[in-house]
């Protein structure tokens, strides 16, 4: 239909243009067309008989008709203004009919529609016209060959032009054809009722006469309506007759060579494909249809949770309005209104307890006064807006408990020290150092008051006191139970004290070891550093160092003892051998100022902690350090080694503690920041999976530190207990575990040693 219309339009334009030249040309043209019609009609009849005429003849018929009516319209407009019309017509050609133009486009469109309307009307009329024409022909002569032209020569004009006239047009001679006398409706009805052939009769308005269709014509129309070939004799599937003679055409119809473009792929096609490909790649063309969003939403749902709105970053849903009749409305229900007593009681309340809003009743909206705080509150609101930060505060809705790592319950990790039952009192100065003997029966302590005391663990009884002049720096029991010797460091001196424990034979060996009669001549290399001297005070041996001692550590076999002096390079650490009563220097260089040293619990490794890091040396292989542990701490204060020998704990003066898994890495496996003040000492239990740190904040922390035999499993560290109890002055200076029980000794600056039991 559109195609046909377009074609019609084009035709119309051409014809309009021609008509623009002369308005009268139509009149000249019309007769020609009319003359053609019978010819076509005649042809049609033949076609129907012989060839496939189908219904194209109808189209052909109606087409000129519609064109005519269009012409008429456009003529009418042309007369009004030619120039613009021409332009719009051009536009019509370029775009489709419904393309709107800027100016007059709308009018144009309406006109187009109107004209179409008219056109379709006309088409129908035309049809009826034709019918009537044919019918007339049938009526006048039975043979359809010589069809008589219609009586009326008025042409294809709207018949209402003649509505008010007495004639309907003019015959071929130019005489008026007068209208027939209008029959009375009742009469005509009766006539039709009487006439059995009435259903075949059609009124031809054009010629103003009744036409009766023949049976053949009815049959023809029925067939057309059914969509079949109009003529019954027509065979649509007739065998094809090839009229063209192929035999003698030895040459092609055209001798022109095939053009090149037939052989090469189309450039424009390729471009088009390329364009599409690019569009697909860039995602301009999407193959999957966009999902249709549901058009329904929860009407009464909470606004804040509807995700459609919460997609917007800054969207904050307004609060929902209350239903009418609530207590804050202008005319609330009576039960909201406070009584006089209630109002009086409000007055007695404190300002902050008083209800913010007291409901009131007003008879009409008109009588509501202005809000008295409006100015103040809007000013405050402005202040708020002015002062508030323009950041949307992110509220994280996470349970803080869920962020904590899952740790085993403390109950499952028992026993561990948690409560203090025993105190060892007797020192008069801060207890700087403690040491337990290997059996766990005794504990030795050194204090700033210059005394070394030996206590019975079980009862808290002080058994022995050695009094010196200087503050005690370090005490250390010999790890051998059969050699009950206490090494005591103070100032520049290191004393070996006989504790007089052990059996008689053990005492003899001890005395022999501590016999100062035959001290061998020191080697030249160490003569400047240490001198072995007899101790007149308690009958043992003392070793005088060239600098004050800061730390001592026994080798596990109880013969060697390392001392650390606050001196750089190699001279800072020396090894004393008690059995031979001689001193050795370390067979390697130490970088930096040593802080403390440790012997490996089972192998020949030696740990030296400097201020920043820990180096591991092999005593059997002189040379460079085998390993360097980077602590990342500011200043190391102490270290302790796990009895397995693979895990080292380092405490620092900034309150941090590092756990090194030496199999894992040279970096700390875990760094624990727990003390607000310096860590003074760390300790590891010999048999239980416990370790502890004590600090100047006068607390000691106990941790569960489980080392697994399975190399794939990392050590488990769980904080267990904070041990408080020492007075806050000076803190806890040393902590040591009981060698066999899960108990912790802490030495406080308040001159008390405490024992924490499980």
């Amino acid at each position: 239909m559109t195609k046909k219309k377009k074609g019609a339009n084009e035709d119309k334009i051409i014809e309009t243009k021609s008509k623009n030249v002369s308005g009268k040309s139509q009149k000249q043209k019309k007769p020609v067309e009319k003359e053609l019609k019978p010819v076509e009609e005649g042809l049609k009849e033949e076609d129907l008989l012989q060839e496939s005429g189908t219904d194209s003849d109808y189209d052909g018929d109606s087409l000129p008709g519609s064109l005519d009516s269009d012409d008429f319209d456009s003529d009418f407009f042309d007369s009004e203004d030619d120039g613009t019309q021409e332009g719009t017509e051009d536009g019509d050609v370029e775009f489709s009919d419904d393309d709107a133009l800027e100016h007059e486009g709308s009018i144009d469109n309406e006109d187009d529609e109107e004209s179409e309307q008219v056109e379709s009307d006309k088409g129908e009329e035309d049809g009826s016209d034709e019918g009537s024409e044919r019918g007339e022909a049938v009526e006048e002569s039975d043979s359809s060959e010589d069809e008589v032209p219609s009586r009326n020569t008025v042409g294809d004009v709207p018949l209402e032009w003649y509505k008010d006239e007495k004639h309907i047009g003019y015959d071929i001679t130019g005489k008026k054809i007068t209208k027939k006398e209008k029959q009375d409706k009742l009469d005509s009805f009766l006539a039709t009722m009487d006439d059995s052939k009435n259903w075949r009769k059609i009124y031809d308005e054009y010629n103003d006469e009744e036409v009766e269709l023949t049976k053949e014509e009815c049959e023809l129309m029925r067939r057309i309506l059914k969509g079949e070939a109009p003529h019954a004799d027509f065979d649509p599937y007739a065998p094809y007759v090839d009229w063209f003679k192929w035999d003698d055409s030895i040459h092609p119809l055209s001798s022109a060579p095939e053009p090149k473009r037939r052989f090469i792929p189309s450039k424009w096609e390729a471009k088009k494909v390329l364009k599409l490909v690019r569009a697909i790649r860039k995602g301009w063309i999407k193959f999957d249809k966009p999902e249709e969003e549901p058009n329904v939403y929860l009407l009464w749902g909470d606004d804040s949770t509807s995700d459609q709105k919460s997609k917007h970053l800054t969207y904050i849903p307004p609060p929902k309005m209350k239903l009418p009749g609530h207590d804050e409305s202008y005319n609330p229900s009576l039960e909201y209104i406070p009584t006089e007593e209630e109002k009086a009681s409000y007055e007695l309340m404190y300002e902050e307890d008083r209800p913010k809003f007291i409901p009131k009743r007003f008879t009409s909206l008109r009588s509501i006064p202005a809000y008295e705080n409006a100015l103040k509150e809007s000013f405050e609101r402005c202040l708020d807006l002015y002062l508030c930060p323009r950041v949307r505060k992110k509220r994280i809705n996470i349970d803080p408990e869920s962020l904590k790592p899952k740790l085993p319950s403390r109950k499952d990790l028992r026993p561990y020290p948690n409560s203090c039952y025993l105190e060892y009192k007797g020192h008069t100065g801060a207890v700087t150092t403690i040491s337990t003997d290997s059996s766990g029966e005794w504990i030795a302590s050194g204090s700033t008051d210059g005394s070394v005391r030996m206590w019975e663990v079980e009862t808290g009884r002080c058994l022995k006191v050695w009094q010196f002049d200087e503050a005690i720096m370090c005490v250390a029991w010999n790890p051998l139970s059969r050699l009950p010797v206490l090494a005591v460091a103070m100032g520049r001196d290191l004393f070996f004290l006989n504790t007089e424990l052990g059996t008689d034979e053990e005492q003899e060996i001890t005395k022999e070891r501590l016999h100062s009669g035959n001290i061998p001549e020191p080697e030249a290399s160490v003569a400047a550093i240490v001198t072995w001297l007899p101790d007149e005070l308690y009958g043992g041996i003392k070793i005088r160092h060239f600098k004050s001692i800061s730390s001592i550590d026994w080798h596990r076999k109880g013969d060697y003892l390392s001392t650390v002096m606050a001196s750089g390079e190699t001279r800072g650490v020396v090894l004393h051998q008690l059995s031979k009563q001689k001193t050795q220097r370390l067979p390697f260089k130490i970088r930096g100022l040593p802080v403390c040293t440790l012997f490996h619990p089972s192998l020949s490794y030696f740990f030296v902690a400097t201020r920043k890091d820990v180096r591991v040396y092999n005593l059997l292989k002189p040379g460079e350090a085998t390993k360097k542990l980077e602590t990342g701490l500011r200043e190391i204060s102490s270290m302790a080694i796990h009895p397995g020998g693979d895990n080292l704990i380092v405490g620092s003066k900034e309150g941090k503690m590092c756990w090194f898994d030496m199999d894992l890495s040279s970096k700390p496996y875990k760094t624990l920041k727990n003390h607000p003040k310096d860590i003074t000492n760390v300790a590891v239990h010999r048999s239980y999976p416990l370790f502890a740190s004590c600090s100047e904040d006068s607390t000691a922390y106990v941790f569960h530190g489980m080392v697994y035999n399975d190399l794939n499993q990392n050590p488990l560290i769980v904080p267990l207990e904070i041990l408080r109890g020492h007075s806050s002055k000076g803190g806890v200076l040393d902590c040591k575990f009981h060698p066999r029980q899960p108990w912790l000794f802490t030495a406080g600056a308040d001159s008390i040693i405490k024992l924490y039991c499980h």
């Binding site: 026993p415 039952y421 025993l422 059996s439 766990g440 029966e441 079980e458 009862t459 808290g460 009884r461 058994l463 059996t503 066999r740 029980q741 108990w743 039991c757 499980h758």
Partner: protein
């Protein structure tokens, strides 16, 4: 007691019964008493009833039992808790309250009193950190001093008491030895006599912590920090021949005295840490407690441990007693006194736990004749008397100023204790029927 004002409905009809003898008896007819009285109220009621009959009556504290349980709350609550009907006439048994009525003068030592023993009714044995043992006939009168040790005495034991003439006493010391002393407690001398050991028992490699004697007095056992329990013979004559008699000249005024040395008959090995306490209540059964958190029962004949109770805490003291001498009480490095019943099958959990102390328990002793009573001493300076029938202490003796290191029953009605305040304290007048 103002009974009359009480609501009649809140009254209970009770009948006081007792097994006590004549002066303590009350008429058996029932009386109505208010339901909210406590032990103190009941005691004053009974006292007033007795006083009405006997004008010379001195007020006496009583304890009350209903169905074998001591009343430690108001009568009403007790009945509610036990589900006993308040409708019928209650039968309340009363006993004399187990509490010391008299505090003797303290007997001052030179040093901490580490051990006391009240096995003999004639005297009290004490061991002291000044390495001397002492025999006290009364409070404040020391009759003998047992000297010879070079280290603090940790434990004393009476070896034989059947011999009236002389008694044998064993002491254990931190100098790794035990010594046996003989003296005559009956000899009446005004000044204290110094006694030297007749036998020195060497063999332990570390401090001896505890000593206990067999009933017969022929053998003693000792426990030590070297994780062993040693058994020794006590007889003077060296029948085995292995002990060598050594002659020692001691001083210049003392006569020559023979001191024999003895060696251990056998060692019971099994504990992995210091054996802190040992008792020998029956002929061939030894109980021991250790810092390795276990209590063991040893069969002396075979030398094997037949029972091993694990406790979880380092233990300082153990005693066997109670019903059929079968219950084991032990205390240690926590404030809980535990009582096990090894006859109970299938469990090693303690049947009683008494936890009123606030520090380590240093001693616990069963009463020799009662099935229910035991005492415990703690480093918090308190001695508590316990009855198995209630979870609260019957009485708290708070006379020591410092840690109590040892305590024992004496003569069945007194508690003797020594502690870090260097005093021997005797609390007497405890009525245990």
């Amino acid at each position: 007691m103002d009974v009359d004002r009480e609501d009649v409905s809140r009254r209970l009809h009770v009948k006081f019964v007792t097994k006590l003898d004549s002066p303590f008896k009350v008429p058996v007819n029932s009386v109505a008493i208010p339901s909210n009285v406590t032990r103190l109220g009941l005691s004053s009621i009974v006292n007033s009833i007795i006083e009405s009959d006997n004008p010379e009556w001195k007020t006496e504290p009583f304890d009350f039992l209903i169905d074998g349980e001591l009343i430690r709350m108001s009568l009403e609550e007790f009945l509610l808790a036990k589900g006993i009907s308040a409708e019928r006439t209650l039968e309340i048994e009363y006993i004399r309250a187990v509490t010391p009525r008299k505090e003797e003068e303290p007997s001052l030592h030179d040093d901490w009193v580490s051990a006391v023993n009240g096995s003999s009714p004639r005297f009290i044995l004490t061991g002291c950190y000044d390495s001397l043992g002492r025999v006290w006939r009364l409070a404040g009168s020391c009759s003998h001093i047992l000297e010879g040790h070079s280290g603090a005495i940790s434990s004393v034991a009476l070896v034989n008491s059947n011999d009236a003439e002389t008694v044998t006493v064993a002491t254990a010391s931190k100098d790794r030895t035990l010594r046996l002393f003989k003296f005559d407690p009956a000899e009446s001398v005004d000044s204290t006599t110094k006694v030297r050991a007749y036998k020195i028992l060497r063999g332990h490699k570390a401090s001896v912590q505890s000593v206990s004697a067999q009933k017969s007095g022929n053998m003693i056992c000792s426990s030590s920090w070297d994780c062993t329990i040693n058994l020794w013979n006590t007889n003077e004559s060296t029948s085995e021949g292995e002990s060598v008699s050594v002659k020692k000249r001691k001083g210049n005024n003392q006569a020559e005295e023979s001191q024999s040395e003895g060696e251990a008959v056998t060692s019971l090995v099994g504990h992995t840490q210091c054996v802190s306490s040992v008792v020998w209540p029956e002929h061939d059964v030894i109980y021991s407690s250790s810092w390795d958190h276990s209590v063991r029962r040893w069969d002396v004949e075979t030398g094997k441990d037949s029972l091993n109770l694990f406790c979880g805490k380092a233990l300082n003291t153990v005693d066997a007693g109670g019903e059929g001498s079968a219950l084991i009480a032990a205390g240690g490095s926590d404030p809980i006194l535990r009582v096990w019943d090894p006859r109970k099958p299938g469990t090693s959990a303690p049947v009683f736990q008494f936890s009123s102390h606030s520090s380590w328990i240093s001693a616990c002793k069963w009463h020799k004749s009662s099935w229910f009573h035991l005492l415990s001493a703690s480093y918090d300076g308190k001695i508590m008397l316990w009855d198995l029938r209630t979870a609260w202490p019957l009485s708290v003796i708070d006379t020591h100023n410092d840690k109590v290191l040892s305590a024992d029953w004496w003569k069945g009605e007194s508690v003797v204790s020594g502690g870090a305040d260097s005093n021997l304290r005797i609390s007497s007048g405890i009525a245990i029927s």
